[in-house]
């Protein structure tokens, strides 16, 4: 679909006089649809395809608005006295930056990989194609080095501004410079094709390698910590540069008299913190401030092969800690589940 829209667009809600910041009647010679209050028409805005280069970033909005509306009487597409909604247009949207904590604006010129359903809006001439669609296959081969379900990803191609968001989760972009970062599969929203995507050995995580930008979501702002640290599995968003984590189990609370009773009866329950991921070495660990997880994305099954840890996605809830199997046999120090079952 090409951007400068055909007449139906003119009847969109944009022409409501109640649109904040656009109450004043547009000046004459306004553009293709005189009388319509559509915000971003630049002079010389092309009719078909294409996308005008954004104005110099230093250009103050005031000047821009005056140029657009021909006078100081024209309202500014911005806040009212510091409050109220900010109205963005194709030019005032940030370039590869957050619009607010929950929305991210990508200045697209070329192609971009994104998870299906994370695009909320776009300006410009952008097409979305499912991964694996014909012409794109070569590019996919270069950047998707993962047995990922291709159906979960789309490629955005074209020029314009692309707005990403995901259920009001906090979004952040990360710049990699010849680096690597591993992130929970459900949290990765989009990435630059200059990065290569691979599946981590840790099930349910994806690794991005190379130079470029990607956008990831988190429940609450992301907090960076440095190893050595032990992290609750649900609070982990990802890690950069440091070695993959190992499991750490606390069995201290099973010692002593009280511990023995707990161990035999399950009374008292588990602290819920007897299992962590332990990080060592140099790098950064990304934490999210909550223990509510985003839905896990299927990352595809690795081939069953000798020496390859079983791929696939761990079961969704916290049970992921207990690696499956019949570990609840008494005596293995894993009575936590028993306690939970009895509601203690």
């Amino acid at each position: 679909m090409s951007y400068p829209p055909q007449p139906p667009y003119g009847q969109s809600p944009y022409d409501q006089p109640t649109q904040p910041g656009f109450a004043a009647p547009p000046p004459p010679g306004y553009g293709p649809q005189p009388g319509q209050g559509y915000p971003p028409p630049a002079p010389g805005y092309p009719q078909q395809g294409g996308y005008p280069p954004p104005p110099p970033p230093q250009q103050p909005q005031q000047a821009y608005a005056q140029e657009q509306f021909g006078g100081p009487q024209a309202p500014l597409p911005s806040t009212h006295g510091g409050s109220g909604p900010v109205v963005y247009d194709a030019f005032s949207l940030p370039v590869n930056d957050n619009v607010n904590p929950y929305a991210f604006s990508v200045d697209l010129n070329g192609s971009y990989f994104l998870q299906k359903g994370k695009m909320v809006a776009y300006y410009g001439d952008i097409t979305f194609k499912g991964v694996g669609a014909g012409v794109l296959d070569r590019m996919i081969g270069q950047h998707f080095n993962s047995p990922m379900h291709a159906a979960d990803w789309v490629v955005a191609q074209g020029r314009g501004k692309l707005l990403l968001a995901d259920r009001a989760f906090d979004l952040n972009s990360y710049d990699l410079d010849e680096g690597n970062l591993t992130v929970r599969s459900g949290n990765l929203l989009a990435f630059d094709p200059s990065l290569r995507l691979k599946q981590s050995i840790i099930p349910g995580f994806l690794t991005l390698i190379g130079t470029g930008k990607f956008v990831a979501a988190s429940n609450g702002p992301v907090h960076f910590v440095e190893p050595p640290i032990r992290v609750d599995p649900q609070a982990l968003v990802g890690w950069a540069d440091c070695p993959a984590p190992c499991h750490h189990y606390d069995h201290d609370y099973m010692h002593g008299l009280i511990g023995g009773i707990r161990r035999l009866t399950g009374l008292g329950g588990a602290s819920g913190e007897e299992h962590q991921f332990e990080f060592i070495g140099a790098g950064q660990v990304l934490l999210q401030s909550s223990e509510k997880l985003m839905a896990e994305r299927s990352v595809g099954q690795v081939d069953a092969e000798a020496g390859v840890p079983v791929g696939g996605v761990p079961s969704q809830p916290a049970a992921s800690g207990h690696g499956g199997g019949n570990l609840n046999v008494p005596g293995l120090g894993n009575l936590g589940d028993l306690g939970r079952r009895f509601g203690l």
């Binding site: 429940n219 609450g220 702002p221 907090h223 910590v225 050595p228 640290i229 032990r230 992290v231 609750d232 609070a235 606390d250 201290d252 609370y253 009280i258 707990r262 009374l267 008292g268 329950g269 588990a270 602290s271 819920g272 913190e273 007897e274 962590q276 660990v285 934490l287 401030s289 909550s290 223990e291 509510k292 916290a318 306690g339």
Partner: protein, 216 residues
């Protein structure tokens, strides 16, 4: 000691040997150093009788004791966290809103009816607190969870504060609260303003209000 806010949804506590923290079970996000987490059978302080009291009062949120040396980060369920420093005064808060608190605080359970008799019990029902609430007193810090950001409204004598019962989080100090009803014929025919019940707090202290009418 005390809690340092990392961001709106995360706090960090510095643990030193000999001091301990209580926190809601499973609310630890990460830690460095040598820290032990022990499930707390009695669900807090005060021995078995207090435990039975809490069980009966349904104020027995699963707690764990955190001891050792290091730094621990807490957060839970993506809820906003607010740190309240108590200096010898009293905080009334619902037990499931407690994210973590210092072991120097005394924890007890309070019967809502003891603050205003039958109306206190009605108030407990309307605010979703039930018949009992948790009382923390002494010197120390408390991290309280809320849905949406928390703001503090001071209560000064002669100037009472009205709070939506669903947005009420906690209050501290010498505060009398009563439920004021503004029920009218409109409410009877289902055309009420939706604000028929209000919590009126008066006295000396502060009330913490969340920017949401959703429970935890």
């Amino acid at each position: 000691m005390g809690f340092t806010k990392i961001n709106g949804k995360m706090v960090e506590a510095l643990l030193v040997p000999g001091q301990r923290l209580f926190s809601q079970r499973g609310a630890m996000l990460a830690y460095t150093g040598d820290v032990r987490f022990t499930p707390n059978i009695t669900g807090g302080q005060g021995g078995v009788m207090s435990m039975i009291g809490r069980r009966v009062a349904n104020e027995d949120t699963p707690l764990m004791t955190v001891e050792g040396q290091g730094r621990v980060m807490f957060g839970h369920g993506g809820h906003h966290v607010h740190v309240i420093d108590l200096v010898g005064d009293t905080l009334y808060v619902e037990a499931d809103r407690l994210l973590a608190f210092e072991g120097t605080l005394r924890q007890s359970t309070m019967f809502m009816g003891s603050q205003g008799g039958v109306m206190g019990m009605v108030r407990g029902q309307v605010t979703g607190q039930g018949l009992f609430t948790t009382k923390l007193e002494g010197q120390g810090a408390v991290a309280v969870m809320a849905h949406g950001g928390v703001f503090e409204l001071p209560i000064v004598p002669g100037q009472s504060v009205h709070v939506d019962p669903q947005a009420y989080v906690a209050h501290r100090g010498q505060v009398q609260n009563k439920l004021s009803t503004a029920l009218g014929w409109r409410d009877m025919i289902g055309r009420g303003s939706g604000e028929a019940f209000q919590l009126e707090l008066s006295g000396q202290g502060a009330v913490y209000v969340q920017a949401s009418e959703e429970k935890l």
